[in-house]
Symmetry: C2
Subunit: 436 residues, 2 copies
């Protein structure tokens, strides 16, 4: 039975990769693992995998070599660095599948180095970033944004399907990385936004758990709010997903945007928040910990705040759950348009992108509410959203309330600027008689 | 001799007001002072002024009552609150001159309350914010942005001239506050920018004093850089101008922009930095202290960094004085356009605004280099600046270098977004055959 299945090598056996590789073993593949950190390799062997001790050795036995290392630098090292690099082990015509979140530009660079520096045009390269977290990784239930030459994707389909429940074919090589970049733009914005609004709730003495519950049932909801909120509410900084990871992803977003000279103001603002978290020493903690950036040192944390609500004071601020929902809705709508506009700029199909995001960690109530009606035109301007005025007005009022208590809300402030730009855009078009 | 001079009452005898009032005494005016903080009043009396103990008492003796209290709340209290308020003391047809930095909307509110709530349409109201700092205040060498009915301004000219070397007539009441708002937009951006780039120099171990000197001689120079830089370089946090003041002014800028639904993304970013400084407990320190927000706690301050330069490490970052100048030029150009665009939106004359800013604390090398050639069209789009591509490219490279060392540069990142928007705008115009 197993003889019909291709042989797989799997490099990078961390939280995501370890689960993915072990799942492939469970599915009956012969999987050779590789990781620079030997305890991870030992664990994989205990789960039924085969060990290898150099990238070259791992690659030598593979029909498909999957890379799930942490970043671009590790990918370069794995594939190209030294005599033991994977490129020297891979057999003729074998396939290399990149699953790490890396930039579209870096995917192109890898293809170029294979072809020109190593004269290995025979190696098939697929760009297949994943989304879904460690639990889904272990259960083979990831979303995979696969891209590459069609026949090569077909050949790899059995392997990719073994890891995923949502397998997207994004088209030409690099498109997988592009889709992941767009997705991470929203992920990064929504995580920073979660911290910003929970910090606000705590600052004014609201019961943060009850605010959390109310938001979960509202249009302000997002996957990331539901996922990271509980970490912040319980001071649980175990790195389910470390700050360093979302910072790296945010940097891929802004690097890519900078190369395209394309504006992604909300993503830039989120990135700044992560950099500040890094500076505060949080890189290896869960990314939800950045909520502490929003709380004065003397005020402690959300848990402490929860026991200390001062109803009188809170009432005087006129900041309620609704205010917070209005902040979230404004940010999420501006972010959704920013993501779709950037996706179009990168040449990613809008319908496919909508489908991907709405089922994944970048989703929000505003994304699924407003993007479908705008897909037909595929024009991504905030001023084209029918509800722009109402959402913007509510956001503006909410920002004003934050400002009265001197609460720093960089995401909300950056989003509001986009509503103001939208207002200008609407006017210019009107003046020129080209009204919609 | 002095009998030909009008009688003046002066409310608010702090750092600015005390100097202004004492200067008027020196110029031979009879000046009655008022301040809630009696030590300030005592000092004024020692300098030859007359005391008063309620706003009403102060107002009663005045031909011109000048208010230089700290903010809108103090202005309301002075003029309107309680039986001892100034409005009950001012004689028929006398003049009230507002010199504090307050919002244009608040000026309108004062006129309205005089007219409707207190039936005192007879009181002449002038809106005359000032710029120049405490030394010039004491020497009667301020810039004053005067506005109000022409004949009332004429009547007050002798008093206004006694306080100023640059006396601008901005036109209708409220225009003074508008001009000051635009000016403070640049002041707020440039102070935050100063901290951002000096923090960068320190972070990478450059000699901060030599960087400072190089920038002073470059296109990256600004009044605020030259003024606040030395405080940061010597850890001198004596509140020459406290963080609370520029935060208040930044809030006037963004409040006014929000009411107009006009985007001021750089001002918003600066405001966020000030709010973070406030959260860190710096409100009463000099605003230059926000440089500490950019330095990891373990790294200490600029002074410490200066002795610790690691030339090897610094070289590897490829961040030089030129990189820092490119950051400054990019931010200052985007800020200059933001200011002029907002000024036009508020209805302030562009030529006058240029004249004011170029001689005052909001000025920068990029402002005086690029704005004059754009004044004729009076169209304030970054894409219309002839050097937008080059400045943007250099800014982009500089931001990329900051990012490689994980240095948070919110002002530069926000400015770069505007260059990206400019790129988009340029393209749209080109596609439609409406090229410039």
């Amino acid at each position: 039975m197993t003889s019909t299945k291709p042989k797989i090598s799997f490099a990078g056996l961390g939280a995501m990769g370890g689960g993915m590789a072990t799942n492939l073993v469970k599915q009956g593949f012969e999987v050779t693992g590789y990781d620079v950190f030997h305890p991870l390799l030992d664990r994989f062997v205990e789960s039924g995998g085969k060990p290898s001790y150099t990238p070259k050795e791992a690659a030598a036995s593979a029909d498909f070599m999957i890379s799930m290392v942490a970043n671009a630098a590790q990918t370069s090292s794995l594939l190209f660095e030294g005599d033991d690099a994977a490129v020297h082990g891979l057999g003729k015509g074998k396939t290399l599948i990149l699953c790490s979140t890396i930039s579209p530009a870096f995917v192109s660079e890898i293809r170029k180095r294979l072809d020109e520096e190593f004269k290995r045009s025979d190696i098939k390269l697929l760009d297949c970033p994943v989304s879904g977290g460690t639990l889904r990784a272990g259960d083979g239930e990831l979303s995979i944004f696969s891209s590459g030459p069609d026949e090569d994707l077909q050949e790899a389909k059995q392997v990719l399907q073994a890891m995923s429940t949502n397998l997207y074919n994004m088209g030409a090589i690099g498109n997988g990385a592009k889709a992941k970049t767009i997705h991470q733009l929203l992920a990064a914005i929504n995580i920073a936004t979660t911290a910003e609004v929970l910090g606000l709730a705590a600052t004014i003495g609201l019961n943060t758990q009850s605010v959390f519950d109310a938001i979960q049932d509202s249009e302000g909801a997002s996957f990331m709010f539901g996922n990271r909120g509980p970490h912040a509410l319980t001071n649980d900084w175990h790195p389910y997903s470390a700050l360093g990871i979302i910072l790296k992803d945010a940097m891929i977003v802004t690097d890519t945007a900078r190369k395209e000279q394309f504006p992604v103001p909300l993503a830039c603002t989120a990135e700044c928040t992560y950099l500040q978290g890094a500076q505060a020493g949080m890189l290896k903690d869960d990314d939800a910990k950045i909520v502490q950036l929003y709380l004065p040192p003397s005020q402690g944390d959300l848990v402490y705040q929860m026991t200390k609500a001062d109803a009188m004071m809170t009432a005087s601020y006129q900041i309620s759950k609704d205010t917070i929902i209005n902040l979230l809705c404004g940010i999420h709508l501006a972010a959704s348009i920013e993501a779709m506009a950037f996706g179009k700029k990168l040449g990613v199909d809008g319908n496919l992108m909508y489908d991907i995001i709405s089922k994944a960690a970048g989703s929000s109530g505003m994304f699924t509410k407003h993007i479908p009606s705008m897909l037909e035109k595929d024009q991504w301007k905030l001023s084209d959203c029918p509800d722009v005025e109402e959402v913007g007005r509510k956001l503006s009022e909410a920002v004003e309330k934050c400002r009265k208590i001197n609460y720093p809300c960089p995401m909300a402030a950056a989003a509001l600027q986009q509503f103001h730009f939208a207002k200008l855009a609407g006017k210019v078009i009107g003046n020129q008689g080209r009204g919609r």
